[in-house]
């Protein structure tokens, strides 16, 4: 590549003052002696002037209209990560889950209580088992004891109660576990309520402070 050709390639950068000072000087020196390169440079200047002759159209949307249009089209944006969104979903669903769990435990307790009461009142073993097929004596040992209660005298009740405790029946582990579970759920729910109240109060204070600053 000739020296002149090399300079021609760099003439664009020279025109934009984007070369190093040394290169700028080199090309300036060359331009002093080369009419062809000077004409090239003049063409670049003329091109810039010509390009500026194409103005922006006058009929552009007014700034306020443009901003309104864009703002109307702005989608909802979540700056939270998937992990944060997951935690938030759990936080929001926590009371539903806790109330649901509590209600389920209470329902089981009520059904068990009714079953026990019905047996005490002398219900038929077979009839009860057909009504509550999911509760069998094999899976619920306490039921086996209860089913024998109909014929038992009141004097033997303490023995049955003792055996029920041994099996972990309704008066033993079953009741204890249900009591603990209900207490735990209530505690968690109250904790959630307290945290929710504290957060909403903090947010209210923040908003009030922000508004008063403005």
């Amino acid at each position: 590549m000739s020296k002149t050709g090399h300079i021609t390639e760099r003439l664009s950068a020279y025109y934009d003052h984007e070369l190093s000072p040394r290169e700028q000087k080199q090309i300036a020196a060359h331009l002093d002696t080369c009419p062809a390169c000077r004409a090239e440079l003049e063409q670049l200047r003329a091109l810039s002037r010509l390009l500026q002759e194409s103005p922006m159209p006058a009929h552009i949307t007014r700034p306020d209209q443009f901003v309104t249009r864009v703002k109307l089209r702005l989608p909802r944006r979540s700056s939270k990560t998937a992990w944060q969104r997951g935690i938030e979903a759990v936080w929001r669903l926590a009371p539903v889950g806790l109330i649901g769990s509590g209600a389920f435990i209470q329902a089981v307790a009520i059904v068990s209580g009714m079953l026990t009461l019905a047996l005490r009142l002398g219900g038929e073993k077979s009839a009860l088992l057909s009504v509550f097929p999911m509760v069998s004596s094999s899976t619920e040992p306490w039921l086996a004891e209860m089913l024998n209660m109909s014929s038992a005298s009141l004097g033997e009740l303490w023995k049955i109660t003792y055996r029920c405790f041994q099996y972990g029946g309704p008066l033993g582990w079953g009741v204890t576990l249900r009591f603990i579970a209900t207490a735990l759920i209530s505690l968690l729910y109250l904790t959630w309520m307290a945290m929710w109240w504290a957060c909403s109060r903090h947010y209210r204070d923040y908003v009030n402070r922000h508004q008063s600053e403005q």
Binding site: Q43, E53, S54, F66, V70, L74, P75, R77
Partner: protein, 205 residues
Amino acid sequence: MKTVIQDTSRNSSPDEAQKWGGNESHSDSELELIRQAQAGDRHAFGALICCHRERVIGVVYRMCGDIHLAEDAAQEAFIRAWMHLPKYRPEAPFRSWLYRIAINAALDVLRRERKTVDIDEIPLMTSKDGPEATMVQAEREEQIRQAVIALPDASRSVLVLREYEGLSYREIADVLGIPIGTVMSRLNYARKRLRAMLALYLEEL
């Protein structure tokens, strides 16, 4: 000779702007607006749109050559900017970050519309000269506009940022995510093409 177009900016995400080493410093008020907009404040983002609207429309207009398409592309650019704003880091110049989004939006809108410029859309010029001179001037402007649009996307982006926005080579390289050497070669190519296409008008100057 055909220049190899390697527009890496088309495939890169705006959050790459984080690694840009721009020299432009944000004013405190703009920085505050950016922070508020990042937090989801639409009013703050509206103020940012007001500040940068004209320049963004200018860039996309030069890229599209049609004001209606340009306004669509500018709106699209601001919507994309809103979506990507949480990832934006103020170390990078906001204007450059926005230019990059705007150029990509303009090219996407052009590709989608594939609209040819209608000769009837040439804006009427208000001139002291008579109607004939006005028409000649309008045709001249149209020819210039068409010549710019006829450039390949990659060269046109560089030319628009240099000639109309006055960005330095470094800034153009940052906006488009290309080396400075590529900026120089693309600009050289664009100017050569334009000089050939507009030779008639250049002789008159």
